[in-house]
């Protein structure tokens, strides 16, 4: 049964009122400049995508042959072109686009726009009013598919706004890994990607989510993410961006509602050219014995500007433990990093919150140490920088590691 239309109408009214509401952070985007693309046909297999699209999808973490994956979702511009569930995992999880999910499940009223408000800013409003799908992934209670679900949100046309609403539900005692790649088919493309993501992790569930962003110099990106984690549930959220972007601003929020819930954010950002990057993570510790951690590794090269934020907010009456670890390296004299940690305790007398933030160059002592083993200066810098960015994220293809090295080689000359 479809979701209640009155509920949807209410959301739309709220969204319309927020259409002029600027975001609190990041440069304002005139979204009226961007239009919608035409519908595209579905493909039978990911192999049927154009060479250019396949290449972009692979670089964003997609496995075209769908090896070591439990399912796949692929969207190009406004069109869902591929949805598939590996037969071995039927009955364990479901994958579809959000539009179909809203048609299928009336109970989505309990989830749709419940992890973040539709009127948060004009970007969330735009997603609701001009929705262009997004994925819906649900893993059934106590199911633990061995391999990750992969999804790719690709922009192929110029001057468009891709407005997706994604939702992941990990039911009680279930576990799920998701790799999402958001990318462009053409590097020159100008446009905007607005991505709302709502994650729900039920009691004892585990969600391991990895997002790889490959944008380009003329592209604006405004992800909006909210996660609600119940008792003993856990979320690990990895974010990797190693390519330039015109501007990106995101500040995902995880609400640790249940006792013993946990959230961990790992963020790896390499700022290139004149990228404007404003990223962070907020963890709200509401349940007792909750744990949160946010680790950010940022490198600012060329003329990039990076804001690395982290907020820990303790609200629990009981014990909670959370830590922010934010480190940055500035590679270029024209680049900037702002590390902005914030710890808040709202009467949480037993909360232990801590942070360490540092910005510094690559230690010359470390470079010389590696050089004394017969390694060239360039290779020593590359090894140290790659190591700095390496957060050991499983299921990320080897090429990402290679990609990091190539980017570093191209930009590290200014580093020392």
């Amino acid at each position: 049964m479809p979701i209640n239309t009155n509920y949807l109408s209410g959301l739309k009214i709220k969204a319309e009122k927020a259409m002029e509401k600027k975001a609190a952070l990041g440069p304002d985007i005139d979204i009226s400049r961007y239009t919608q693309s035409g519908e595209r046909r579905r493909v039978e297999s990911l192999e049927d995508l154009s060479h250019q699209m396949k290449e972009a999808a692979v670089m964003a973490g997609m496995n075209i042959k769908e090896e070591l994956r439990s399912g796949s979702y692929m969207q190009v511009d406004r069109s869902v072109v591929y949805e598939s569930l590996n037969k071995a995992y039927e009955g364990q999880l479901e994958i579809m686009n959000i539009t179909d999910a809203l048609e299928k499940y009336d109970w989505l009223e309990d989830y749709y726009w419940k992890a973040l408000p539709v009127d948060h800013d004009k970007y969330t409003a735009q997603v609701e009013l001009n929705l262009t799908h997004g994925y819906f992934i649900r893993v059934f209670p106590h199911q633990k598919p061995q391999f990750p679900v992969q999804s790719c949100l690709l922009v192929a046309e110029n001057h468009i706004s891709q407005n997706v609403h994604n939702m992941i539900i990990v039911e009680e005692g279930a576990e799920l890994q998701v790799i999402t790649g958001c990318t462009l088919a053409e590097e020159e493309a100008e446009g905007v990607h607005l991505g709302v993501s709502e994650f729900y992790v039920k009691k004892g569930g585990k969600l391991f989510f990895t997002m790889i962003h490959n944008w380009a110099e003329n592209f604006h990106v405004r992800p909006r993410t909210g996660a609600i984690i119940e008792e003993e549930g856990s979320l690990v959220n990895n974010y990797v961006m190693l390519k330039p972007v015109k501007s990106i601003q995101a500040f995902p929020v995880a609400y640790l509602k249940g006792d013993m819930a946990s959230a961990k954010f790992n963020t790896v950002v390499y700022g290139l050219r004149d990228s404007y990057v404003d990223l962070g993570a907020k963890i709200i510790l509401e349940g007792e014995n909750t744990r949160g951690e946010s680790i950010a590794r940022t490198i600012a090269a060329d003329e990039s500007v990076i804001y690395a934020r982290g907020d820990l907010v303790a609200k629990t009456k009981g014990y909670c433990l959370a830590h922010l670890d934010c480190r940055g390296i500035v590679f270029s004299k024209k680049a900037k990093i702002f590390a902005i940690p914030e710890l808040v305790s709202e009467g949480a007398v037993k909360a232990e919150l801590s942070h360490e933030a540092s910005i510094g160059p690559i230690a010359e002592e470390q470079v010389e140490y590696l050089m004394s083993r017969g390694i060239s200066r360039e290779d020593a810098v590359s090894a140290i920088t790659t190591g700095f960015l390496n957060l050991d994220i499983p299921y990320i293809p080897d090429f990402l590691d290679k990609n990091i090295k190539e980017v570093i080689k191209a930009t590290a000359e200014d580093a020392l």
Partner: protein, 245 residues
């Protein structure tokens, strides 16, 4: 026979402070020499200068390695020519694992069997996936340094206080590793040489040194049998050396 290392009238400063004052030194291929001296005398400065660390500024003099003038060469070039160093206190490099550095030094996986044998012998299997020297104990650092050098296979190795921070039990292991590194476990290898700084002399129980020197206030003041020198230092300290300059 040609000198493996030859240093002529070497004057070196660190942040405008003179640390070496006209050092002359040479050693033949295949020899192992030891260096004694009080704290701050210039032992480590001498090693770091020979290895080419830019903080140690050569104001005057020349350094020749295997007949080639290396005075202007950078650290990496000297290492490529066959010089290696074991640090007294190596820096921590968090993101680079011991496994990774071994892979890079060995050229990505060559001689894997020999490497894994050395890892086992040096009791470092549990450290391969940790950041270099990250939380390593004194002994673990020394063993890690020697493992890296075993893979690097330098013709001449500079070893700064191999026994510092190492418990008695592990000194034998470190000593044997140095011997293996120098190819002297069985028959003397004429192609490998070593210069070892030692404070306590414990390492001399394991490593057969040919000659010893004392360095005082930035200069070599005397040389001779390393065991005799050590015994003299143990009896009288460095007082007599200072007096006899």
């Amino acid at each position: 026979m040609q000198d493996m290392l030859k240093v002529q009238d070497l004057w070196v400063s660190v942040d405008s402070r003179q640390v070496l004052k006209g050092v002359n030194f040479s050693m033949k291929f295949g020899e192992t020499h030891t260096l004694f001296g009080p704290n701050g005398a210039g032992k480590t400065s001498f090693m770091m200068t020979v290895m080419g660390f830019p903080k140690y500024r050569v104001e005057q003099g020349k350094i020749y390695f295997k007949g080639e003038d290396i005075t202007a060469k950078d650290i990496h070039e000297r290492a490529q020519l066959g010089l290696g160093i074991s640090f007294q206190r190596p820096p921590t490099v968090r993101g680079v694992t011991l496994r990774k550095i071994i892979e890079i030094i060995s050229g990505n996986g060559s001689h894997e069997e020999a490497i894994s044998e050395n890892v086992k012998t040096l009791n470092l299997s549990g450290h391969l996936d940790r950041g270099l020297n990250d939380g390593f104990s004194g002994g673990e650092m020394k063993r890690s340094e020697l493992l890296q050098l075993m893979v690097q296979k330098p013709d001449m190795v500079l070893i700064d206080e191999p026994e510092s921070g190492v418990d008695i039990e592990n000194i034998a292991l470190v000593g044997e590793a140095i011997n293996a590194l120098l190819g002297k476990a069985r028959v003397k290898d004429p192609s490998r040489g070593a210069l070892i700084i030692t404070h306590t002399g414990y390492i001399l129980d394991y490593v057969n040194a040919d000659k010893g020197y004392i360095i005082i206030d930035g200069n070599f003041v005397c040389g001779g049998n390393p065991r005799d020198i050590l015994s003299e230092i143990k009896k009288h300290g460095y007082r007599r050396c200072i007096e006899c300059r």
